[in-house]
Subunit: 187 residues, 2 copies
Amino acid sequence: MTLRVLGVDPGLTRCGFGVVDVDPDRRARLVAVGVIRTEPSTPVEQRVHAVAVGIAAVLDEHMPHVVALERVFAQNNVSTVMGTAQASGVVMHLAASRSLRVALHTPSEVKAAITGYGSADKKQVGAMVARVLGLTEAPKPADAADALALAICHAWRGAAASPSGISVAPLTPAQRAWQAAERATRR
Amino acid sequence: MTLRVLGVDPGLTRCGFGVVDVDPDRRARLVAVGVIRTEPSTPVEQRVHAVAVGIAAVLDEHMPHVVALERVFAQNNVSTVMGTAQASGVVMHLAASRSLRVALHTPSEVKAAITGYGSADKKQVGAMVARVLGLTEAPKPADAADALALAICHAWRGAAASPSGISVAPLTPAQRAWQAAERATRR
């Protein structure tokens, strides 16, 4: 079964998102990619809310099976970690409210899955994401490429962990309806 | 005008909330208080979502004019700060989606406003909250008392900053309806 994954690189100034369809043989296709931006001068609750509105729209339009989110460590850059965690919290809530599972992956897990080594730089990740998805150039900005890398990483790691097929969270009624419609169009 | 404030002491293991009505002369009454608890063994997105569902219910039942939230610093306890920030993000989103303003106050601002000095301990804060609200004993657990202290602190600081009356965010249509209904019952 093709797995549709939403990857999110959480943040308030730039929140990257990317949706990919990944087949059991690891082939991946781009469905959607973008960045939600908010201004640092805007009250923080409105920034968080703008990220929520944007991610909710992506979830409702593209109906992924699972959400892959960057695992944030409190040891990271202290000045940005709070906004990153606040954005993460909202994405988790939006996913859980749609009965979607959230999988967390560290940046080095993502780099290792995509490029083969955990200390790859952003340029290498972007180039590899472009190659995997058959794009002529790396998605920009880096937050968008990182979100796609997260989504691909999740599908590939899931496939490796579950040889009998990619494991997904239980589907909601809306997802089952979408899946049935999708199958119908492929006949 | 009486100001209704929801105070939230954000967290995933225990998220304290308290709603108070505060008159322009600083008199305060308890409207609601409680704690949302989630299990550390539960997937984090479900914990965040449970906090969201609980706070949304409080917002919709009690319709505060403003939300006061503890300002979280990344320098705090590293092991809990991520969950605290994730819960904060969800509370901000829920408030902003209802056109409510979110005010952030540091723990020392709250202690100073409630007890008169910024390094008061939890027991002193709880005792003072009980006295202000006319309760026979301090609300428990401490997260609940802290949430009430935040709410009282916000109203008192707002009153001090705005001598002509307590300043509030613009009201939503639902709030105006509620306010009109409240006025009607007082005639």
